[in-house]
Structures are given as C-alpha cells and as structure tokens.
C-alpha cells in the first residue's frame, strides 16, 4: 500500500481534483459491480473477493524527495476467478486514492490444467519470486502486517525487483515422499526502467521497451504441516527508457522459509542475492547486493497477533542500480499488532524505524482491512 511507499516521485503536495475523481469514479463503479456480482457466486465455478482497506501513515521526518509526512489512503482490490472445464480465468484489479491515485489491472491470466495440480498460465501475473509476492498479492487483509518488506515492494511503490511479468507461467504442486512440492517457472516480458521499474500495462501492452524475465521457484512442504522451505532464481533484462539510458542485466537467487512453531508462533524469513550489470553509453558496471528479512508472529489468543520484522541489506550503499531507482528501504525494524475484528476484518498498528539509502525516519501506520464476501 502506498502509505508505505518511499519512492521519490511520490510527492504531490496537493492532489489535483481531476485525478482524484478519475480514480474514485472507477473505484465506485467497481464497488457497484461487486454488489451486483456477489449473488452470481451461486454459480459454483465462480469466486469473487473484494478487499477494501483504509490506512494512515505518519512519519517523523519529511526527507527530501520522499513521500509526504502524513498520508491517508483508501484501497480496493477486486479479484475474480472462474473455471470452465480445464480452463481457468483469473483477474485482479487494484485501485487506490491517496498520495498517488491509480487503478491498475494487476493480474489478468488464463490457464489450462495440464494435469491435476499443474497449470500453464498466460497473461500478466505476479512473479513467483520470494514468498510475499505470490502469497499476499495486493490483498492487505491476507498479510499479517501493514507494510510489505522493502525488497518485495511493488514497482510503483519504489520496488527494485520485477513483481509483475507478462508471459507464461507453469505453476503446480505434487505430493512426493510424504511432502508437497510446489514449483513455478515464469518466462515473459519484464519491466523497463523509466524513473522506476515499469511493468507491462495490460491496457497499453505496446507501450515501452520490455525484455525477457525468467524466474524459477521450488518449495518443499513437509508431511502434514503447513511449513515451507523454498529456493528461487531469476534472470531479468531491463531496457532503459530515454529518461534513464541504462540497460540492466539482473541475476538473482534466494531462499525462503515460512515455519510454524506450534499453533501460535510463525516465522517468515527470506534472503535475496542480487547481481546487476549496468550498461550505459560507454560504460559497464557490475554490482551486487544482498537483502533479507525475518518476520516473527505470535498469536495472543484467538484474535490478537503481535509481530515484528527486521529487514536489512548489504552492498546497498552506493549501489548504482539502487540509486537509479531511489527510495529503496535499506533497513527497517518494525513491531506491530493485529486484531481480527470479525471473521473477515482486521485492524493493525505498526511502528517502524525506516532507513532509506539516504534518510532515516520513524513511521507509524494504522490500517483497517477486510475481505468480502
């Protein structure tokens, strides 16, 4: 959510009313569509979700170029999926009003079931990189915390890795030796660099220069538990636009685990190793950085969850690629509390210390989020 964005460009002091209404209008239309579509769920092949959220962020400093000191935001994420025999269609549309109003088709995919548990998808999808991007998507309610880890930030929130790809995705799972193995292989057009990473826009597929992105991920879920351990790797080519005449060849790899200790304590840990080769007219540089986070969640009774997360990186200072994009969260420590109001609503509060590449500040985030129906 944008109240967590530290992207330099996000500094509109006053939102032009036109832009606000341009965003609000479709959001209200989408909301109305939800109300109309909800009874259609009687058809069992269809599934519809609607994730609203309202958030407020306060920052101790207003570092030059960073987002505003106080910021409110209303989000709406609409999700629809349907099955027709072996065919499956899936769409996710995300809209927000606040610092930077937008409505975007985040996922638009169609798949064919190759065999039970395995599908070949075509379209724009979330890159199966790390853990966060494909387990929470844009549904704020589903993630325990308010903020996403900096390394998993979406492209338009100052992200430095390709979170959306347009192309083909082989996705599936198989039970083997008493464990569930999940696999993903993605190949398609990744983002271009144009004052930030710009993924392929569904409504403007021909706009921008997009090169290949490839990601593979394998995870292991032992026996009858919900624990997961996984590895992933990727190769991305980011062409630079005229404003940013730098082409980047990015190789990355990483490990993740989501481990449950009993029924009350969860641990999520991810580490990324990223190598970048930057080519600009007359010069080529190679750099690498590492980034990771560890998040601990402790259930306190049935409705409360206390959590904390530490994010850190090495090799980020002076990294030309990260400087090119700006707003990268180099380090963050946060603690928070989540209260599940009802079966489908949550209120969360978070306090964090944020260290961007050039600035440090404290931040308080509050959020209400829900899922309907």
């Amino acid at each position: 959510m944008n109240t967590d964005s530290h992207r330099p460009a996000a500094r509109p002091d006053k939102k032009p009313p036109k832009q606000f209404y341009r965003t609000l209008g479709p959001a209200l239309l989408a909301l109305a569509a939800c109300q109309i579509a909800a009874p259609a769920q009687a058809a069992e092949a269809d599934q519809f979700f609607f994730f609203p959220a309202a958030a407020y962020a306060w920052r101790s400093e207003d570092p030059a170029g960073a987002a505003r000191k106080r910021e409110g935001e209303i989000d709406l994420d609409l999700f629809y999926t349907t099955d027709r025999g072996h065919l499956r269609f899936l769409a996710e549309v995300f809209g927000k009003t606040g610092g930077e109003s937008e409505i975007e088709i985040e996922r638009l995919q169609i798949s064919w079931e190759l065999w039970p548990g395995s599908r070949l998808w075509l379209g724009r999808f979330h890159n199966p990189i790390g853990y966060w991007n494909t387990d929470y998507h844009h549904g704020n309610y589903l993630q325990t915390t308010i903020s996403r880890p900096g390394i998993d930030a979406f492209e338009d929130d100052g992200g430095v890795l390709p979170m959306h790809i347009a192309g083909a995705l082989l996705e599936g799972y198989t039970a083997l030796a008493g464990a569930l193995w999940r696999y993903d292989v993605a190949l398609g057009a990744g983002p271009e660099i144009n004052s930030g990473l710009q993924p392929v826009a569904v409504y403007q597929p021909g706009v921008g220069a997009h090169d290949a992105s490839f990601t593979a991920r394998l995870s292991w879920q032992p026996k009858d538990t919900n624990n997961q351990v996984g590895v992933f790797a990727g190769l991305n080519l980011f062409p630079g636009a005229s404003l940013t005449p730098v082409d980047v060849r990015q190789q990355l790899a990483g490990l993740f685990t989501n481990w449950h200790f009993g029924t009350r304590t969860d641990l999520l840990a991810v580490i990324y190793f990223v190598d970048n080769e930057l080519t600009s007219p007359g010069a080529t540089t190679q750099e690498s950085f590492r980034d990771g986070y560890i998040q601990l969640e402790q259930a306190l009774g049935a409705q409360w969850i206390a959590y904390g997360r530490a994010e850190g990186s090495s090799g980020a200072t002076g990294n030309a690629y990260l400087n090119l994009l700006g707003g990268f969260v180099r380090e963050r420590q946060l603690i928070g509390l989540r209260y599940d109001l009802a079966k489908n609503q949550a209120v969360k509060a978070e306090i964090s210390k944020v260290h961007l590449l050039g600035d440090r500040f404290d931040q308080i985030n509050l959020q209400w989020s829900a899922v309907y129906p």
Partner: protein
Amino acid sequence: MRRFGYVALLLTGLLVLSAGHALAGERRLVLVGSPELRGLDLNAAEIRQLFLGYAVTKDNHEVTAAINKSDALLYEVFLQKVIFMSSQTYERQLVAKVFHYGGQLPPTFARPEELTAALNSRPGLVTFMWEDYVRQLSNVTVVNELWHGSIE
C-alpha cells in the same frame, strides 16, 4: 473373605463407573464420503491438503473437501485436532489459496441434511462428522478416522 469380596465389588463398581464416564466423554471425528469412497485410505498429509482447498487424486477418485459447519463444537475440534489453526487463520489460508491459484473455496454447509445430500450428489466429496452421527446415516461411509478422544 466376605470383606475382601465387598472391597473387590466396590473396586469393580468404581472401575466400571470410571470407564463408563470415559467412554461417555470420548468422541470420534471421522472423514466421510459417499459409499463409492469406502476403502480409500487417505494419509494425514492428503487429508490436510484436502482441507486446505487442494484436490487429491487417489485410486482413480478425484477427492475434494466440504466444510461442515452444522455443529460449532465439531468445527472447533476439527480446527484444533486436524488443522491445528484458529478459525481466523484457517479461513484466511483458504482465501489466500484461491487468491493465489484461482479456483473456488471449499463448499461450506451449515445444514447437515444439505451436506449429506451433497456427499451423494458430488462424486469424490468428503467432509468430517462425529462418528455417532454417521451411524444414523445410511448413505455415507466412513473413509478415515481423523481423531478420537474425550472432550473436556
């Protein structure tokens, strides 16, 4: 000798009473389906996979799960002893799975007669029930035992 007999009688009575109490408190949670699924032996990992919203293919049956919410205690015991999650976490996981892969949430039934009808009309559908309740039904079969024990 007569005194020994009284003591033995007393002890036997206490034993019977305590055993009776334990048996009265003991319940069995079972996985049930239509009679075609008799003998389908699902392991713990497959059962967990089913109730997390994934289909399981075994012995030429494509098995899917339905959630039985006709009895609050039954659902609570299922969550605690089979799924090992709170209801909020479990239901969040089900939504997250559909949000990730597409597909549908497992069907949920609040009325036992509708659930029983669904078990017979949808091939491969299974759910969880108390075994003593299943004994009253003629058209469903026990596939696996999920848990047994006494409920405090």
